[in-house]
Subunit: 153 residues, 2 copies
DNA sequence: GTCTCCATGCTACTCAGTTGCAACTGCCAC
DNA sequence: GTGGCAGTTGCAACTGAGTAGCATGGAGAC
């Protein structure tokens, strides 16, 4: 009889391994473990969250966590969002069906002002048209909804 | 004949002074000077920008700049936006006609990916409706357009 | 099994923002 | 005007996220 529950990310290790193999890049323990953490998270996850999740079974140096998270972004596997607390948080990209260069479809984010958690809103953004001053060319639009999440309501 | 141009913020000192008097709070040199800097800026301004602008004629300790900028936000005179470089930038609120508690009307921002500058888009945001999961309640929406500004095009 | 190159771990660093505290000053009462 | 006090400033020390340099280690090619 064990005293502590197994961490949830363990069930995602094989999925993570497959996704990393698919990139053609090197398969390493930290990459698998960090990606499994993101796969196990419903919400945006900081480097510190990841390091904390892994400390018991797959301890990884904090600098490596930073580097792996950045690598996952560059591979098109995850994306990062800046929070009001100056911390980057990371999430798996929604539909990896397309090629990695296709970037993940624009999607909005939701931040709960009560608990501070951030979620992806997986629906594609309804086309917003903002009037820009003369000479300004838009590339893409970030949309962040602030409010109160289901758990905090 | 003078060698250096007078800094632009000097012409805004009296406007700044009036705005601070209007709050009913204490009128101090750093508050007037920092607010004058924001009044003189078309674009989002970091605490370091402000400190740099003031160094010659109204040198202010950097911690005071931080505190005054935060105070201006609390007074409803300016607002702050987080950049991708983890730096807060500040701007005067557009229409101060209403009471300070009315918060400044929602407006979108534009960040130039080339020069890194951020501008307010003063038109009110066209009503966006995003589908939220059950139980999520929205308060407000932040909208950030990424692109290339007129000067960089 | 060996070799090579890339990834990891570790230490030391940068940089934005914060905290604690003593000294100062705006402002009100008199 | 002068005094007193609370709010504000300046300074120094600190925090916490993220980065850089470099020696060691392991993944994958052969
Ligand atoms: Mn997202
Ligand atoms: Mn703005
Ligand atoms: Zn919440
Ligand atoms: Zn530009």
């Amino acid at each position: 009889m064990q005293l502590f529950m197994k961490p949830a990310y363990l069930t995602h290790l094989s999925t993570a391994e497959a996704a990393i193999r698919a990139t053609g890049e090197r398969l390493t323990q930290p990459r698998v473990a960090v990606l499994a953490c993101l796969l196990a998270s419903e919400r945006a996850t900081s480097h510190l969250d990841v390091a904390g999740m892994l400390v018991d079974h797959h301890a990884v140096d904090r600098v490596t966590v930073y580097r792996v998270l950045e690598w996952l972004v560059n591979q098109g596997i995850s994306h990062r969002i800046a929070g009001d607390d100056r911390v980057w948080r990371f999430m798996i990209n929604p539909q990896q069906t397309s090629a990695k260069s296709a970037a993940h479809g624009h999607h909005a984010h939701f931040t709960c002002e009560t608990c501070g958690q951030t979620f992806c809103l997986n629906k594609t953004i309804p086309k917003v048209d903002v009037k820009l001053p003369k000479g300004f060319r838009p590339f893409e639009i970030d949309l962040l909804v602030r409010g109160c999440c289901a758990a905090c309501s």
